[in-house]
């Protein structure tokens, strides 16, 4: 019962959507539309699960005074301040996303720099990895390296200034061999996705129920 009903739900919803793809007329079309809107509503709630487990683990850390607990205090304060500013924005401006609201102030001056800088660190690590790890150990690795260098030179103006070979070669690499390999990989991935979708619908794949 606890696993059978979900399996039936999965099969019926999946099967119905496949049928409505081929039969878009009423009542399938309208029912499909309804299911899609419901999916949008329900999938939003999955975010709450993640936030909840985050809050619980950090509250436990603070309560137990575990090492680094004051970082968890900063996290919880950040979360609370954001929710409060969102509520203030909604009550004062009718929307937290009004450009004058404190919620948007927090977004502009904390989320943007934090997100942006966190990923900007990757530039340093990729440069370091290029120096320390990018080695032409064999023919295949050399091929990768040469392709990377041609693309890097072809994408900058000085590459064209050195020789027209670089931008031309870069375009050829992107339009032919790179495209071919990506297409081959993604065809395989797409067929795999279809296979997995069918396995899920037919109840062969049940890992999502754990």
């Amino acid at each position: 019962m606890k696993r059978t009903v979900p399996l039936i739900i999965t099969f019926l919803t999946g099967f119905f959507l496949v049928v409505s793809f081929f039969v878009p007329h009423e009542p399938f079309g309208a029912l499909e539309q309804r299911l899609l809107v419901w999916f949008a509503i329900v999938s939003g709630f999955t975010m709450l699960l993640g936030v909840d487990s985050l809050i619980r683990s950090h509250v436990r850390k603070v309560a137990g005074r575990r090492p680094g607990w004051w970082h968890s205090v900063a996290l919880l304060i950040g979360l609370a301040v954001t929710v409060v500013t969102g509520a203030i924005g909604f009550s004062r401006f009718g929307s937290p996303f009004h450009m004058q609201s404190p919620f948007m102030f927090l977004y502009t001056h904390s989320i943007i720099p934090l997100q942006g800088t966190m990923f900007a660190l990757l530039a340093f690590f990729i440069a370091s990895a290029s120096y320390r790890a990018f080695r032409a150990r064999n023919t295949i690795a050399t091929l990768l390296l040469v392709s990377a260098v041609i693309v890097m030179l072809g994408r900058i103006p000085i590459g064209a200034a050195i020789s027209h070979f670089f931008p031309a070669a870069q375009e050829w690499i992107m339009d032919v061999p790179q495209l071919a390999a990506k297409r081959g990989i993604q065809i395989g991935a797409a067929l795999g996705a279809v296979s997995m979708s069918l396995r899920i619908m037919l109840g062969i794949e049940r890992s999502y129920l754990s």
Binding site: G29, Q33, L36, V37, F39, A40, I41, S43, G44, M47, G94, S95, F97, H98, M99, M104, Y107, T108, I111, I112, P113, L114, Q115, G116, M118, F119, A123, F124, I126, A127, S128, S130, Y131, R132, F134, R135, A136, L145, A148, V149, M152, L153, R155, I156, P157, I158, A160, E171, M174, D175, Q178, L179, K182, R183, Q186
Partner: protein, 282 residues
């Protein structure tokens, strides 16, 4: 007495503290920004195609702009977003913005308001921001039947039925072009769930990471054009004749590329001599 093994020049160079590498990169990227060396970047075919897709719109046509990125990709995608919006508003094209990545949507809204202020356009009449709805592919497919079923209100909660711009826009049939700004897999959703199913014309601006993956779509004519990374943004700015942050950042990009190529060359030379010494020592 134990023998003191002296490291060779190449071995010391191989073992260099990575913080020195970081510092060299930091200086290399900072200097061109300080010196403002930007110049026009000759456009390439994928960007020319994307620009032509927007240029082919007529006054009164509807351009749907999808904000599917966040601050982690803003330096690449914001310049091309601004360029596309400028091109659209200059042609009196109506802009309908929405997004599938909630945390990035305010960035799109900021760009929309910033660029709209440069033109004689009015919110709700010439442009609108519908906001975000969770559900990715479900939202995309549902919009094919009725946009109002998923976006009954705009990002501020105003019913779309009260907005003049949305009066004649029911579904993709009323959207002449969709331009998505992508930093992840949402581009695949757009193409597989919307372009294939509804025949919606679409072009994309992507991060440089995603651009290679989008080339198969371009070659198969599933998408009209592709603007990839900061260079793509600089090319688009050249096409519209308004250099911006894309063009400004290219010299720094150039120097950084040369530096990394230098790192690769020096690293491999060092590895070669170090290996040779080890093999000679056996």
């Amino acid at each position: 007495m134990p023998e003191i093994v002296r490291k060779s020049f190449w071995e010391r160079l191989n073992d260099i503290d990575r913080r020195i590498i970081f510092l060299i990169l930091l200086v290399t990227v900072t200097l061109p920004l300080l010196l403002d060396l930007g110049g026009e970047i000759p456009p390439t075919s994928p960007v020319i195609r994307a620009h032509a897709a927007v240029e082919g719109l007529r006054p009164g046509d509807h351009l749907m702009v999808s904000i599917d990125f966040d601050a982690t990709s803003a330096p690449e995608l914001m310049p091309m977003l601004r360029a596309v919006l400028r091109q659209a508003f200059a042609k009196d094209v109506k802009v309908i913005m929405l997004g599938h990545l909630a945390i990035g949507l305010p960035l799109g809204h900021m760009a929309l308001e910033q660029i709209a202020a440069e033109y004689d356009v009015e919110y709700g009449v010439d442009y609108v921001d519908l906001g975000y709805r969770p559900g990715f592919q479900a939202v995309m497919i549902a919009m094919g039947r009725s946009i109002e079923d998923v976006f009954a209100t705009d990002y501020q909660g105003t019913p779309v039925s009260e907005l003049p711009i949305m009066q004649n826009v029911r579904s993709y049939d009323d959207v002449e072009l969709l331009f998505g700004f992508e930093h992840g897999a949402v581009i695949d959703y757009w193409v597989r769930y919307t372009q294939a199913r509804f025949g919606q014309k679409m072009a994309f601006g992507t991060t440089a990471v995603m651009a290679p993956d989008a080339y198969p779509y371009l070659q198969a004519d599933q998408i009209e054009g592709l603007v990839g990374g900061l260079k793509g943004a600089a090319e688009y700015e050249t096409l519209i004749g308004r250099p911006g942050l894309g063009t400004r950042g290219m010299p720094a990009q150039e120097w950084a590329h040369l530096l990394v190529i230098g790192f690769i060359v020096v690293g491999n030379i060092g590895h070669y001599f170090t290996r040779k010494k080890r093999e000679g020592g056996r």
